[in-house]
Amino acid sequence: MSSGPDALPGVAEPAREEATEEAPFVVRGAGLRAFLRDPMGVTGAVLVAAFLLMAIFAPWIAPYDPMALNVMNKFQPPSWQHWAGTDQLGRDLLSRLIWGSRTALYIALVATGVSAVLGIVLGMIAGYGPRWLDAVLVLIFDSFSTLPMILFALAVITVLGPGKETLILVVVLISVPYYARLIRAQTLSMRESDYIQAERTMGASAFRILGVHVAPNVVGPLLIVLSMDIPVVIMLEAGLSYLGFGVRPPEPSWGNILNDGYVSLRSAPHMVIVAGIPLVLSTLGFTFLGEGLRDALDPRFRRFGGPR
């Protein structure tokens, strides 16, 4: 990454001129090719695809009914019948993990999707609307982003009670301000660009400018951020379910299985071990995918802020 002429600017003039000359023609193809050359991005894409397929086809892939009890057969370590063993009620863990990917991805995708849409709308309003509205919205965004994520989630859960819908709401409340700020910054910088100014003098409506020019341009960076935030949502779902405040049993969730495993850590350590694996692989997958996308599409774009 660092071997380009960026190492010492001002010296490598010829190389830089070449690059700007070509850039407009090759962006798409080069982006895809760059992505495919990057082993990390490809690994991420494969992992994400595998989890998506697993979630979609869970009923056909899972070898057993994830709810079927068989108390005689409880706490079985992994075997040929039960590749991941069984839990405290004798349910097949592999099947529960496969169904658990459905729960995790459903919450992650719905929550980030809703957040993205709301973030785009609010961000464009803040970036394009009147100044006082911008100031009010930014104050609200900033206030929300100072809330400690997990504690705030606990507060919402206390009020609304645990459940999938509460989880989604929490993620939306936490992510929207962050996305909206990103979109607002992009909108502000685009608003000043010459071609938008030209459109405005020609009398284009705000809707047209935002819909036709701004929106398509802000989606790219947002996609990268989304891909990197999905692991955070997966972690949050699993963590809250682990605490017993997320997905309610008996519905399979990786966090629930981890909690059941924690209770019997000494007698049946296999539960914690096998339930951690999909959690780690899926968060790695989405993060790698996001990294690869970012490096391929826009190396200048950096995710700001730390892990939350």
Partner: protein, 316 residues
């Protein structure tokens, strides 16, 4: 500088005000009343009325708002629904545990992260750099409470080297340190990756600057160039991130504290949620938000002092 400080602190208070307003109104947007939330659906009407009165919920709305802010300003965050202990006292009781956990995690992560970032810079473009890159991303991605569970299983259950629960005996520093190792490992590992990347990126940016070329053109040793001329600049963004880190680490400690049954803000809040102890949950959220704002604002002011450029922009 002074006017900047006033502005920055004023903004922090404004944000805190909005947060409080948001938390306060949250109780009213939900169906049912806070007393109902606290007591659960099967509580008797008498009990409910009693609690309603105790929480001041029978007063007109504007009086409630005024009371809420007046109390908060005096440090009164309400009372535990069950034990009637002041919430602030309960928080201050366990807060040092969480703070120490956060500081220790961030401390070792900072040392290792900056070191790895510098290593990646020195060997930039090589296999080492790429390996560290993948490693950093992985450390960022893996959820800390999975690491907590795995390390608990390996080091406490199987090997028996370290305690599985608690924060150590009071007065026994040794046991307290031993109780810190696994939780701070689980929390800090994320930050090692994050800081390594941050230091690498800002270092590369600084090293490409013209003034570094200038320093090199005078034959300064590479060690001097990296450690005196580049690192000082590269660390400025790190300070800002560290402050945010301390703020956010403390709340992400919730899961890890739960795994190790370690007393702290996280366990306090978790137990309160289980008991529907609404004032305690709200109190912790408010307290941690205020703490976060305090740290971030302080860091901004420190940076303004560290970086002569910022210092001067502010002065003029």
């Amino acid at each position: 500088m002074l006017s900047y400080a006033i502005k920055r602190i004023g903004l922090a208070f404004l944000i805190l005000f909005v947060v409080m307003l948001g938390l306060f109104s949250m109780v009213f947007v939900v169906p049912g009343d806070p007393a109902g939330v606290a007591l659960g659906p099967r509580a008797s009407p008498e009990l409910r009325a009693q609690l309603t009165e105790r929480m001041g919920l029978d007063q007109p709305l504007h009086v409630q708002v005024a009371n809420f802010f007046a109390n908060a300003a005096r440090g009164d965050l309400g009372y535990d629904v069950w034990s009637r202990r002041p919430v602030l006292e309960m928080i201050l009781d366990v807060f040092p545990n969480t703070l120490i956990l956060g500081l220790v995690s961030l401390g070792w992560a900072l040392v290792l992260g900056v070191a790895l970032g510098c290593v990646a810079v020195v060997w930039r473009g090589t296999f080492v750099d790429r390996l560290l890159g993948v490693l950093s991303v992985s450390m960022i991605a893996v959820p800390s409470f999975v690491i907590a569970l795995y390390s608990l299983l390996i080091f406490s259950v199987w090997l028996g080297w370290l305690p599985a629960i608690g924060a150590g005996e009071k007065g026994d520093i040794g046991s307290q340190i031993r109780a810190l190792i696994l939780p701070s490992f689980a929390i800090g590992i994320t930050w090692v990756g994050y800081l390594a990347r941050l230091v690498r990126a800002s270092m590369l940016e600084v090293l490409a600057a013209e003034h570094i070329r200038m320093a090199r053109s005078f034959g300064l040793s590479e060690r001097r160039v990296v450690l005196t001329y580049a690192l000082r600049l590269a660390l400025i963004p790190t300070v800002a991130v560290l402050a945010m880190g301390l703020g956010s680490i403390l709340s992400s400690a919730v899961f890890v504290e739960a795994v190790f049954s370690r007393p702290g803000i996280g366990t306090l809040a978790t137990n309160a949620v289980s008991n529907r102890n609404y004032p305690v949950v709200m109190g912790t959220v408010l307290f941690m938000t205020a703490f976060y704002l305090f740290v971030v604002t302080a860091a901004d002011l420190v940076i303004a002092r560290l970086d002569p450029r910022v210092r001067d922009v502010l002065r003029s």
